[in-house]
């Protein structure tokens, strides 16, 4: 890729709100035929031959060998701010997101204070806008303080500037069936969705890893698959009963896939998510006792991995969600039982999915766009994300080099978290450029400058990041 114009607009957008003009030359659209895309004023101004003729003095980006995809949308990100700025901030987490090919992330509610009021979700939303790397869509807590006792003010969060549509106590299961029923019913008032962390608490007291052959040998308390599956079974039935919308976070077992497949066949409005790590890694890695492999839900067996891959390919599982969960090193440099659960994922998601799904022939790049952009945008009710790469559409676009190979080095990542379970692995695929609202947040695989929202332009600090 080469910069062929001195004026690419990035120096001026911070003060003017302009996003410049870019001609992407010869990108394989969704991995299929190569065409040109002209980006101007935040939208795709033209596609194909018309793009070239209308380009004028656009900055030309040579996309030979690159694939153009809609910007990825993460339904499941932990940005840690407010409260745990030693783990991640909105700024660092969204830089990581942009580098990973995302143009929108849903920030989970388990911050400190919990995102259970309009004030907190507006704060996170504002931090996201000020950072300018991606759309930050706050997820509201279902219950006050994630305590599972009393509904949070879901309506106030929905009506706030953050326009919350997804609600989740992620990390903690809404295990009380009455409370779950009420939440599912209530969010119908504003087209919301309850994203459930499916984990029966009594069956997982003190759980450390998947319950099975490996936990038996290692002497670590098991997290049985049935603890996930029983909650999903209950929730899809509740969802059917009250006619609402359910999203199942990070599905991890073959049995869960079967229940969701059954629910969808019955017409129940349920969507499901799988993480990149559950598509690739198994509980065999826990034999090292290295807490970098400690995550919730836990890494499962190879049979589960294969079932999850098949389910993502056939659409039973709708989306890939990273569950990006950065932790300070001291929370991982310790005994397994003492360690925090969670893995980073924003900067490896594309490569892991390419490795697990595309290079295995299970999915095409068009399928990838569905699972990482179109479907997650629909779940979060984001109207300007996950759109087709057509004239007039918002220019949330990434360019991917599918032939690249790279070795994962957590210390080189933009996230503050160093807890990548893919450390040292060679993975395919690299995000070369990310366009967010027509502005290149990533160019040549490196952070460029953030997008400046027009309304914020007057007050935003100049000089990028």
């Amino acid at each position: 890729m080469a910069e062929q114009s001195a004026d690419n607009g990035t120096n001026t957008n911070a003060t003017t709100g302009s996003t410049g003009t870019y001609l992407i030359r010869g990108a394989a659209i969704l991995g299929a035929g190569t065409e040109d895309l002209l980006i101007r004023d935040g939208v795709i101004a033209a596609r194909g031959a018309a793009a070239n003729s209308a380009a004028g003095d656009a900055t030309v980006i040579d996309a030979d060998g690159l694939i153009a995809l809609p910007g990825m949308v993460d339904v499941h990100t932990h940005l840690r701010e407010p409260g745990r700025e030693d783990a991640e901030t909105v700024e660092t987490g969204t830089r990581a997101a942009a580098l990973g090919g995302f143009t929108a992330v849903h920030a989970m509610a388990n911050s400190t204070p919990v995102a259970d009021t309009a004030g907190v979700v507006e704060q996170v939303h504002s931090l996201g806008r000020a950072a300018g790397w991606v759309d930050v869509r706050p997820v509201g807590a279902v219950t006050v303080g994630l305590a599972g006792e009393q509904l949070a003010e879901l309506g106030a969060m929905a009506d706030s500037r953050a326009q919350v549509r997804m609600f989740s106590d992620d990390g903690i299961c809404v295990h009380d069936p009455v409370l779950m029923r009420r939440a599912l019913e209530y969010v119908k008032a504003f087209d919301g969705v309850v994203a459930q962390h499916a984990q029966e608490p009594r069956l997982t007291a003190g759980a450390q890893m998947n319950e099975g052959n490996v936990s038996a040998v290692l002497g670590l308390t098991g997290w049985p698959a049935v603890a996930e599956e029983s909650i999903i079974a209950r929730d899809v039935l509740l969802t059917q009963h009250v006619g609402s919308r359910l999203h199942v976070c990070h599905v991890s077992t073959a049995g869960s896939v079967e229940i969701i497949r059954w629910a969808k066949a019955r017409g129940i409005n349920v969507t499901a998510e799988v993480t990149p790590h559950h598509l690739l890694l198994t509980d065999e890695l826990v034999r090292s006792y290295d807490p970098v492999y400690k995550v919730n839900p836990p890494l499962r067996t190879d049979a589960d991995v294969q079932a999850l891959r098949a389910a993502l390919a056939d659409g039973t599982i709708d989306v890939v969600g990273t569950d990006h969960a950065p932790h300070p090193s001291e929370h991982k440099e310790c005994e397994w039982a003492q360690a925090a659960m969670g893995m980073t994922g924003l900067e490896t998601a594309l490569s892991v999915v390419q490795h697990a799904m595309i290079e295995t022939g299970l999915m095409t790049w068009a399928d990838f766009a569905r699972a990482t952009s179109v479907a997650p945008a629909a779940i979060g009710r984001l109207t300007d994300q996950g759109r087709p790469l057509e004239e007039g559409e918002p220019a949330n676009i990434i360019l991917v080099d599918p032939s690249a190979r790279w070795t994962v080095d957590p210390s080189a990542m933009a996230t503050m978290g160093r807890n990548s379970p893919f450390r040292g692995m060679e993975l395919p695929g690299k995000v070369v450029a990310t366009f967010f609202k027509g502005h290149p947040t990533v160019l040549d695989g490196k952070l460029n400058t953030p997008y400046r929202h027009p309304a914020d332009a007057a007050t935003a600090p100049a000089g990028g990041y």
Binding site: S215, V217, L218, L220, R287, S288, Y289, E333, W336
Partner: protein, 331 residues
């Protein structure tokens, strides 16, 4: 051998070598001066994050009989209870020049973490980690069984394995590091192991282990057994619905007086009764069984010192240390 972390990855050659070395160490214990100069100038740290006076003094006696300097580091009342991490503790011990760390920890895998990280370069001996393993306990159990088994056959114990010996391990297998270490080591030594336990106290996945599983103590005895190892029932299990009551547990799974008599009735005159201690008399083992001539409880304690001397000696004495590539456990 750089570390002794588990018996799962311990080869037959190394297991027999430790047992044979322990025989030599046992001979030292019979001498008037019970001390060898082998580890003079070496420092052994007993790093105990969990109370265990028995294991700690056994290791302490072993290290002292080999003339090592011994430092006891108990987590309670130390910087650890003030929130110091395992990493900082390990690095502190490393800076003080520890040659071996004997670690007892409530968290499964903690010794593996010490051995796998660069926090400390010392040899690591697992003195019991969570519900994972307790390799020196299994080695002292095997040592005790081997002496008994070879004596019956009229053979020297040195160099022998346990081929053909029938061993029942009974009780709370789910939470027992002793059971796990014994299953792997006895498999390696050629014994035939049957686990006897209520289904609630067996781990999911036990069917993959190299042993048989029975829910019936009496049937297991009737099939013939050469050693019965009773596991301690922890107090915290008693009110967690693993079994309805301690009396029912005793009746169905305990080694009571009826079962002691059954050994005689079944003609199993050479069957021994083992227990890693401390015993709950009247719960998993009756007083008569614990005190019978069949009981090896005190022999196990005695043999523990010999086996731990052997482990320390083999790990720390330079000229017998073998290349790590062949002896280091898989992590």
């Amino acid at each position: 051998m750089k570390h002794l972390l588990s018996t799962e990855g311990l080869s037959l050659g190394n297991a027999v070598r430790i047992l044979d070395t322990a025989e030599e160490m046992a001979a030292v214990g019979d001498r008037e001066v019970k001390k060898l100069p082998a580890l003079r100038g070496r420092t052994v740290v007993n790093l105990f994050f969990e109370d265990s006076t028995r294991t700690r003094i056994s290791f302490e006696a072993a290290a002292k009989r080999l003339s090592a300097d011994v430092i006891n580091f108990a987590a309670k009342g130390s910087s650890v209870s003030k929130g110091e991490s395992l990493k900082d503790t390990a690095q502190t011990l490393s800076a003080m020049g520890a040659d071996a760390v004997v670690i007892r920890h409530w968290a499964s895998g903690a010794p593996h973490r010490l051995a796998a990280t660069d926090w400390i370069d010392a040899a690591v001996i697992n003195a019991g980690d969570g519900t994972h393993e307790h390799p020196t306990q299994a080695l002292l159990d095997a040592f005790t069984m081997r002496r008994h088994w070879t004596k019956l056959a009229g053979l020297p114990s040195s160099g022998a394995d346990l081929k053909g010996m029938r061993v029942a391990i009974a009780g709370d297998v789910l939470h027992s590091r002793v059971a796990r270490s014994n299953v792997w080591l006895l498999r390696t030594l050629g014994a035939e192991v049957t686990l006897v336990a209520p289904p609630t106290l067996l781990p999911i996945g036990v069917e993959q282990w190299p042993c048989r599983v029975s829910y019936n103590m009496d049937e297991t005895l009737e099939k013939g057994v050469d050693a019965v190892m009773m596991l301690r029932v922890q107090g915290e299990r008693m009110n967690a619905s693993y079994f309805p009551s301690t009396r029912e547990y005793s009746r169905r799974w305990g080694f009571d007086d009826n079962r002691l008599r059954a050994l005689d009735r079944l003609g199993l005159k050479d069957t021994i009764i083992m227990h890693p201690g401390p015993m709950n008399r009247g719960l998993e083992i009756s007083a008569a069984a614990a005190d019978s001539p069949r009981s090896t409880v005190l022999a196990q304690v005695r043999n523990g010192v010999s086996v731990r001397m052997a482990a320390l000696y083999l790990l720390l004495s330079g000229d017998t240390r073998e290349p790590a590539a062949t002896l280091k456990e898989s992590n």
